[in-house]
Structures are given as structure tokens and as C-alpha cells.
Homo-oligomer: 261 residues x 2
Amino acid sequence: MGDVPLSHPRYNSLMGRKLLTEAAADGLLADSALIAHGRGEAYDYLLGETTCESAQAAIKQSALLMKQAKKCVISVNGNAVALAAADLIRCAAVLQCPIEINIYYRTLERMTALYSRLERVRNEVSEGGAPAGWEGDWQSAVRKVAILGIHPDSQIPNLEGPRANCCSDGIFNADVIFVPLEDGDRCEALMEMGKQLIVVDLNPLSRTARRATVTIVDELMRMAPILLSYLVNGVSIAQPEWDNKANLEDSLVVMLNYLRK
Amino acid sequence: MGDVPLSHPRYNSLMGRKLLTEAAADGLLADSALIAHGRGEAYDYLLGETTCESAQAAIKQSALLMKQAKKCVISVNGNAVALAAADLIRCAAVLQCPIEINIYYRTLERMTALYSRLERVRNEVSEGGAPAGWEGDWQSAVRKVAILGIHPDSQIPNLEGPRANCCSDGIFNADVIFVPLEDGDRCEALMEMGKQLIVVDLNPLSRTARRATVTIVDELMRMAPILLSYLVNGVSIAQPEWDNKANLEDSLVVMLNYLRK
């Protein structure tokens, strides 16, 4: 896939596709990761490839939860790293929380490749400019972001196999977990641990979407800078009691209207 | 991905995923083929992963067109070979028409890999049993199926690059082309040549779906044996005048109802 011109009307979608195929070639992804991305593309198409109002509200609510957390963590898999590593590291720097790598098909090769990629991006982000509105020492804030996951010392209960592995400094003791692109089983196991779970899922009907505390029905590359901006600048409007089910239904209506017209 | 038990409620979907990731490892697919498959998975999910009535009608209409054709050809890309090579060769044997490999990102390596795979499957199919209802010498019928595409001698007008290449014994002079998983540009160029185009596309809103003569909104692995059966046993009920737009709308309604419930 060649370069994608910024002027292309479907720039974001084509850029996502390019980042994913490159990450696959770099050994960051499991076999089925590209297929999962394709499913997301289809649902995003039904959203008109824009961040809808209900997604905006969910991102706001997420920023609130993450800022109010006692211990927040950002959990990433291969697709999340491929699509949004830089913005997720920026979010972690603002919150001063760790990033934990947690993948479904865990192999040492992939864990190491993801760790190296995140380290490299953390370096680039620390050398780059601070987000608009940020006050303080950006370089030192970014450098303090811990990248966890390589040496797990805990297990998520009620989950079999290596995907139960996690870190006590990260997922295991966090009260709020931001985990884009989570699988259904892990989402349920984490909810049963009493955690508040924020997920990014383009399929509003998925098990993950229906179980999470806050579901952002949006594309990760598109929503990450919006979340970052809320984390830096705060959420001005007081949010009403969060009703995730109602919010999911609003996203469904957007898709229904798209199919109808 | 491990073995998929036949009893699994989502056997077809998981088997498709397995076949595609294996084909990718075997070098049959372009980078973006897995992503395209994922998009299909998402739309198939909205269909309830079954062949709906409007798809049944479209398959019937396709069988009629293919049987009435002066020169029919079955055009395949990497995904079609990975998912349904055997059944498509069976269809070609029944119709005594050629199969032509025609891929978007044409490289000699992939063309050769696809040709070898089709040759191997043609052998297996000729050694295997004839489809129910078939009368005649199955082995010789299968062996006569030509596999075209490696040595193109013609070009589809109004199409740039290597994907314009095709064979005069196949696509170029055919009046009816069965082409699962076609891209929009090629679909339009072939329609402009005055051909009747039968496509299999899970997205009823795609350019290909809206432009084709007959659009089968169904999953290829699931619809191929149904098409084969109509080709062997004939279509008993006379079809009314074909209205592809109305048929597409019926498929959309199935998806809308799924999202609504």
C-alpha cells in the first residue's frame, strides 16, 4: 500500500489500513488481527467514519473516570499500538499512569516487539511538543510513563491461559482500565474483579461493548486525540449519571440511519 | 488458530478465518486481503451468518444466467481461492467454463502460487465424488476446466495498471462473469464492456454491489455449494424479471432488523 495523501476523503481509514499492514509485517500482530481490523472498518463505514455525538459523550465520561481514578492504567494490544501508540503514551503522561501490554495470543517475540515499539514511540513523544493546554515539564512527564506487561506477576481470576497474566503495578491493582479493542472474555473477567472498564469498540452489539462501564463506539485513531484533549484541558460540562446502554443505543441509531438512507 | 470443531455454532465463520490466515501464510494473499475479509465478517454478522431469502433468489438468478451464457467464466482472486476453490472448480466443471485468476495487486509470485493451488485442488476435485444429481464422466469434466490468468493477452478498457490484464479465452470475451469479491473499479469497467456481472458481496451498499447485474449478498463458502446444486439440478421455478436493486434492499432490511432487535 502506497502513501495516503492527507487530502483523501477517507484518509483516516486508509491510514489505519496502512499502519496495520505495516505492523503485521513488523511482527507486532497475531494472525487474526488484520481480520479484526476489517470488522472494525465495516462498522466504522456504518458510522460514516466520523465521531458521532454519543461517542463524544462517551469519551468525555471516560476522561472523567480516568482523571478521578485512584490507579488508572492503559492496556494495549498489537492493534492499539499500531494505530495509536503516540497518543496513548501522551494520555498516560498526562495522567501519570502506566501502559500495560496485554495480548490475546501471547508470545515472547510479539511481547518484545511491542515493548520495543512502545519504548521507541515514548522517546519520540518525549522529544516532540506537549499537547495544547499542557503546563509543566513534558519531557520528564513522558519519560516517567512505565511500560508494563513483559514481566507479569499476577493473574486475572476466571480466565484461562496466558492472557490471564498481568502486572500488579498495572491492570491487577487498577480501579480504572482504559482498554481499547478488548476481547469479550477478558472484559467480563475484569468487570467481575470490580474494575471500571473503558473500551473502544466499533461494534455496539459485541459482548465487550455491552459489558463495559463506558463503551466508546469510535475508531481508535480518531478518538485518541479527543480523549487526550479532555484529559489535558478537563471536561467543563458536568456529565449526568452515565447510562452506557442508552449511549450504545444512540450509536446503533446512527448506524441504522446510515443503512436506511 | 487451532482446529474448529464442526459442532461450533459459528463453524463457518471460524473456518473462513482459519482458511484466510493459512492462505496468507502460504503467500496467496495481498496485505489487505485479511482486512477485506474482516469487513465481510462484520456484514455477515449483521445477516445472522445465514443465507437469507434474497440471497437464495440471487443465487438462483445467477445459476440461470450462467447456464444461459454463451461464454461464462469464473474469475477468482486470492480470497476466493482460499475460501471456495473446490466448489468453484466444481461449478466450472458443470458449466464446462474456464476459471481465470485476476488479482488486484498482481505479482508473479502470487499468480504462480494461486495457479499451483488451483491445479492441486482441481486434481483433488477430479478424484473426489461428483456432486449429487450429476450424470456423466466427472473426472474428465473436471480435468477439462482451464485455469487462465497467468498469460494475459488482453486488457479491460478504462482500467489502469496490471489489474486490467485478462485473457481472451476468459474474461475478455465472456458474456457472463461470475466474480466473487470484486473491486468497484473493475466491476464498473466490466459492466461498461457490456458484460453481465454476478458478484458475491456482503456489503449491499458497496459500489460493486450496486453496479453488478446480480449481487449475491452472502458469504462465499456458504453460497458456493448452493450455486453448485442449482447448476447441477437446474432451477425449477421460473424467475420473474430480475430487479437487483429491490433484491439489495431486501438484504439491507435483514441487516436493519438484526440491528434493531
